[in-house]
């Protein structure tokens, strides 16, 4: 869960309408609170991804319910399912079309390693073609596992030196 950001300190008596914080803390707080997923649903795991978005597990609690089917508007690609070699080029092309900053969650055994498909048709892990931030085990992973992956990713993003990255970019 996104906890209250301890780095934001505000005392209205002293500061009035001014909030003092670090740029990294503000940028990362904004980024972690509205991670819009690009649902790369390729097989059975995508069904579980839908469950994560629906009311019982409710991805919206973490600010990530806005599934964007346009890569231009998405921040985190959730690769949920078996990546075949035929699809691999398309997955990479969609990743390339996402705007920086962008992250990738490999959901399930197939996306992480090829899973049970040791065959001529299946890419043996999507990390061969994309930089993956979080791997989720399971076939399929429980929705809670994907929520946990999102929280892990948020924690990771909170540690990023975003301001210096923006200045040097």
């Amino acid at each position: 869960m996104v906890s209250a950001n301890a780095e934001l300190a505000y005392n209205s008596k002293i500061e009035g309408d001014v909030v003092v914080s670090r740029a990294d803390a503000v940028i990362n707080w904004i980024r972690t609170s509205s991670m819009w997923p690009m649902p790369m649903g390729l097989a059975c795991c995508a069904i579980e991804l839908m469950a994560v978005g629906a009311s019982r597990f409710d991805l919206a609690r973490f600010g990530a319910e806005v599934m964007r089917f346009s890569p231009r508007q998405a921040d985190v690609m959730i690769v949920s399912g078996t990546v075949t070699y035929k699809m691999a080029s398309a997955v990479r092309r969609i990743y390339d079309q996402m705007c920086e900053p962008k992250w990738v969650i490999a959901m399930g055994a197939c996306a992480s390693t090829g899973g049970m498909y040791r065959s001529y048709a299946v890419l043996q892990g999507v990390d061969r073609i994309l930089p993956v931030d979080v791997y989720v085990s399971g076939c399929p992973p429980r929705p809670e596992a994907l929520l946990d992956a999102l929280i892990k990713l948020q924690e990771k993003v909170k540690r990023e030196p975003s301001a210096s990255k923006l200045l040097t970019a």
């Binding site: 070699y85 990479r92 498909y117 040791r118 065959s119 048709a121 299946v122």
Partner: protein
């Protein structure tokens, strides 16, 4: 309704090359490749087999003669009879049969799949492209001489291949493929187990 044996009997009257084929359920016939289109056409127009439910390819193995067979599964929506028609490709190196797509439009995609997986060409097919693997993929994966793990090949998109610098690699079999021994009555012995023909990180693929 039981499948009618007359369909086969009537067929044999008109086509001398048609012979019975061993079958556990529905009637089945073997047809020489030269008669195939004529037989299928008469089954459709004279005997009411108006539905082609499947076209399946068979590879009997490297060196087998004939090596490739195509099996057509016919169904009649009026008499509810099934009939199986099998025909072997005369040429083992460049297997080819006439296309049934003009008789049943449904044959189109079935034949594309048989072409994709076995490399069987269908003469007269309206659009004989691969249907599962991508255009330009060099192999036919369901042939007996194709390894399950695959063969190194570039990805379909040259631009992406240049970017990610990986292609299709042979999958690590990690002890597999896991297969059940045929003909074992003892369930313990018949459990799927690893064929010891695999390679992994510790035991690299021979010849690499």
């Amino acid at each position: 309704m039981p499948p009618s044996p007359d369909a086969v009997a009537a067929l044999k009257v008109g086509w001398a090359g048609v012979t019975d084929r061993a079958s556990l359920d529905h009637p089945a016939v073997d047809v020489p490749a030269a008669d195939l289109l004529g037989v299928l056409g008469s089954l459709k127009s004279l005997q009411g087999f108006d539905m082609l439910t499947d076209v399946a390819g068979v590879d009997w193995g490297v060196g087998a003669r004939p090596r490739f067979t195509v099996v057509y599964h016919l169904f009649s929506t009026t008499t509810h009879a099934y009939l199986r028609v099998a025909s072997s490709c005369p040429d083992d190196a460049a297997p080819q049969l006439p296309s049934a797509a003009a008789l049943w439009p449904g044959a189109d995609w079935h034949e594309r799949e048989a072409f994709d997986m076995f490399g069987i060409r269908f003469a007269g097919h309206p659009d004989l492209r691969r249907i599962i693997m991508w255009d330009g993929y060099p192999y036919h994966p369901l042939r007996k001489d194709f390894p399950l793990a695959g063969i190194e090949t570039p990805l379909p998109d040259a631009e992406i291949t240049a970017e990610v610098k990986v292609g299709l690699i042979a999958a690590p079999m990690a002890g597999g493929p896991f297969v059940a021994a045929a003909g074992q009555m003892n369930m313990g012995d018949a459990e799927p187990r690893a064929k010891d023909e695999s390679w992994n990180e510790r035991r690299p693929k021979p010849g690499t």
